[in-house]
């Protein structure tokens, strides 16, 4: 699936409290990887509307719906960052969600913290993971699917070790697919 055309602008918004500098780092990572015109918006409240009380997680697909209706300009893409735990009904969690070839995406920093795994906080690590997840989800918005190259940022990561191993860059194949 390919996006119809690139957006005039990719808008980045935090939903609730997010780690310090998270939006800025996502902003520069997306801009330098894809050359998109990015804009930081004022923060929005946490996505409680999407909360599944039984699971204590927010439904990432509902967040995408909300983002698209809150920021409806069709020529602009919207990228959310939140610190709540995300999931889709059939899976235990997701690090992020994007419409493949669509105009919205969201990532969660909840499971990107070292503290989540009982280890001491590591801000540098956290910010690097945010950058990778941001590029990965925007890659999906650009129409890229998962890549088999473990070093490519489009390699699917369902665990932090996979996120940490892969680089922040697109592999040559993905890069050429991007503009084909």
């Amino acid at each position: 699936m390919r996006p119809q055309e690139l957006p005039s602008k990719l808008r980045i918004v935090s939903l609730g409290n997010t780690p310090q500098n998270a939006e800025e780092r996502a902003y520069s990572a997306i801009q330098s990887c894809f050359g998109l015109n990015c804009e930081l918006l004022s923060p929005e409240p946490p996505p409680e509307f999407a909360l599944d009380v039984l699971r204590g997680q927010c439904n990432s697909l509902e967040i995408l719906d909300w983002l698209e209706s809150r920021f409806p300009q069709p020529d602009q893409w919207i990228f959310g960052i939140t610190d709540v735990d995300l999931a889709i009904p059939v899976l235990t969690f997701v690090f992020g969600e994007a419409r493949l070839g669509g105009r919205s995406a969201v990532i969660s920093t909840f499971r990107l913290h070292e503290e989540f795994y009982g280890r001491p906080a590591d801000t540098l690590m956290l910010l690097s993971r945010i950058e990778k997840e941001a590029i990965h989800e925007v890659g999906h918005m650009m129409g890229l699917t998962h890549c088999l190259d473990r070093n490519c940022v489009m390699y699917p990561s369902n665990s932090l070790s996979q996120t940490d191993v892969k680089s922040i860059k697109l592999c040559p194949d993905c890069r050429s697919n991007l503009y084909s």
Binding site: L61, P89, T92, L100
Partner: protein
């Protein structure tokens, strides 16, 4: 371009099937969400599917029913059942009916990725395997065993009837009569044809190497054994082991081989682990083993073990017009290989082919024709293209002294010219090293003192 894997996601809950489909599409798969069991069955045999992901609890037609029908319609199709209401009973039932996995909702994304990937990898390997088997069958459709003579037809008949069994076969015949070709034909027509065919020429190996070659060795088992080494018996596991020039084995190797054949297991040199091998043994020799038994150089028990079925290949000189059929075949083969055009053979050459005794049998004929195709200028192969130094000369000489004598003299001449370099001499003589060693042994040719 690689074809895209197709996955069917069956769940009555829209949010589940849609979200799972969206998630899977990001892997590049083609995903079709289906809202119920009946709908799944309706489209199941209309299209090709790589995996079905099916919810267990659905109204009307449930997941187990879909699984049952799916396996009936498309045997072997991988079906993953998932459910939010897992019980031991449903899990056991799903697996019994033939589900390839049973997952509990919500599913760990890492686990699902892994399972889907594993299934697709297995499918790819299976497909590749089928493709390669077809290729193997296609390659071997054309048999090099050519001949209309009664003796060859009889041989082919035996090959056809023994191939399917696991019986040992002893192939006898003069050097160059195509013993390995027969062994390959037996292998290719047997149930072992997709497994290895391993040939080992015992005559070409020094005595000390034979055991290590056949049974393998462990690291450090002798000086120079810097790595562990798999023996030919291990390499041929599941397939066929062709032991050429079995008559050249030392008595020690004969004892070891007999033990391996009886126990169907061997030990590597210096090893104490018993290695079980499922190997069919085909053996060949140009010696008359009965005579070797009488002379006490070959064990009688091993002979009977190897010679469950015996195939004797007649020498070319006893095969009448087959020589012409073979000559035509080799001419076509080499013309194609060297991109040359030859119409056939001159009448003189045909006469020569029929009169000549062909001591080197088919191999000699093949080499002669290869040479003729290389050097010949005319559209018909001429006598002067033959490698016998003008062809007729050999025939004339034949009447004066025996061919055996001619061959012995010639071998000695070539060996002396190369300073007794066996590899080079074998190359010049266009025979393999093992054959040359045998001939040296048989003719009792020895290196002159001053060259030792």
């Amino acid at each position: 371009m690689k074809s895209v894997a197709r996955i069917m996601v069956v769940d009555d809950e829209k949010i589940v099937r849609e979200s799972l489909s969206v998630w899977l599409r990001k892997f590049g798969y083609e995903v079709v969400p289906v809202e119920g069991g009946q709908e799944a069955l309706d489209i199941l045999d209309r299209e090709e599917w790589n995996i079905l992901l099916v919810d267990l609890k659905m109204p009307r037609v449930d997941g187990i029913e879909v699984l049952r029908k799916a396996i009936e319609v498309k045997p072997g199709i991988p079906v993953i059942i998932f459910t939010a209401y897992a019980t031991v009973e449903t899990a056991v039932e799903a697996m019994k009916v033939g589900a390839c996995d049973y997952l509990i909702k919500p599913i760990d994304p890492d686990m699902l990725t892994l399972k889907v990937k594993k299934i697709l990898e297995t499918q790819n390997l299976t497909n590749e395997n089928v493709m390669l088997r077809d290729k193997i069958d296609a390659i071997y459709q054309f048999d090099e065993i050519i001949g209309n003579s009664k003796s060859v037809q009889e041989v082919l008949e035996i090959v056809g009837s023994v191939a399917a069994s696991d019986a040992s076969v002893l192939i006898t015949g003069e050097s160059g009569t195509g013993k390995e070709l027969i062994a390959q034909a037996i292998h290719r027509n047997s149930d072992r044809r997709y497994k290895p065919f391993v040939a080992v020429s015992i005559g070409a190996l020094p005595d000390t190497m034979v055991e290590s070659e056949l049974f393998g060795h462990e690291k450090g088992s002798f000086t120079g054994a810097s790595h562990a080494h798999m023996g030919r018996f291990e390499l041929a596991d599941g397939g066929t082991l062709f032991l050429d020039e079995v008559g050249e084995m030392s008595s020690k190797v004969q004892v070891d081989l007999l033990r391996v054949l009886e126990e169907r297991a061997c030990y590597r040199l210096g090893g104490n682990r018993k290695i079980h091998t499922d190997v069919r043994v085909l053996a060949a020799t140009n010696r008359v083993l009965k005579k070797s038994i009488e002379e006490g150089t070959f064990r009688e028990d091993l002979y009977y073990r190897l010679n469950v079925i015996g195939i004797h290949l007649p020498p070319l000189r006893e095969r009448g017009d087959d020589v012409l059929l073979l000559a035509e075949y080799f001419l076509r083969k080499f013309c194609m290989k060297m991109n040359k055009k030859k119409e056939g053979f001159s009448p003189e050459v045909i006469k020569l082919f029929l009169r000549y005794k062909w001591p080197g049998n088919i191999r000699e004929l093949e080499n002669a024709i290869e040479r003729a195709v290389v050097v010949g200028k005319e559209s018909l192969v001429q006598l002067s293209d033959m490698p016998f130094g003008g062809g007729q000369k050999v025939l004339e000489e034949k009447t004066a002294i025996s061919l055996r004598e001619v061959e012995k003299k010639h071998i000695l001449k070539v060996l002396n010219e190369t300073g007794w370099n066996v590899t080079r001499s074998a190359h010049l003589l266009e025979i393999d090293r093992a054959t040359l060693y045998n001939k040296i042994k048989n003719y009792g040719v020895s290196k002159p003192r001053d060259q030792r």
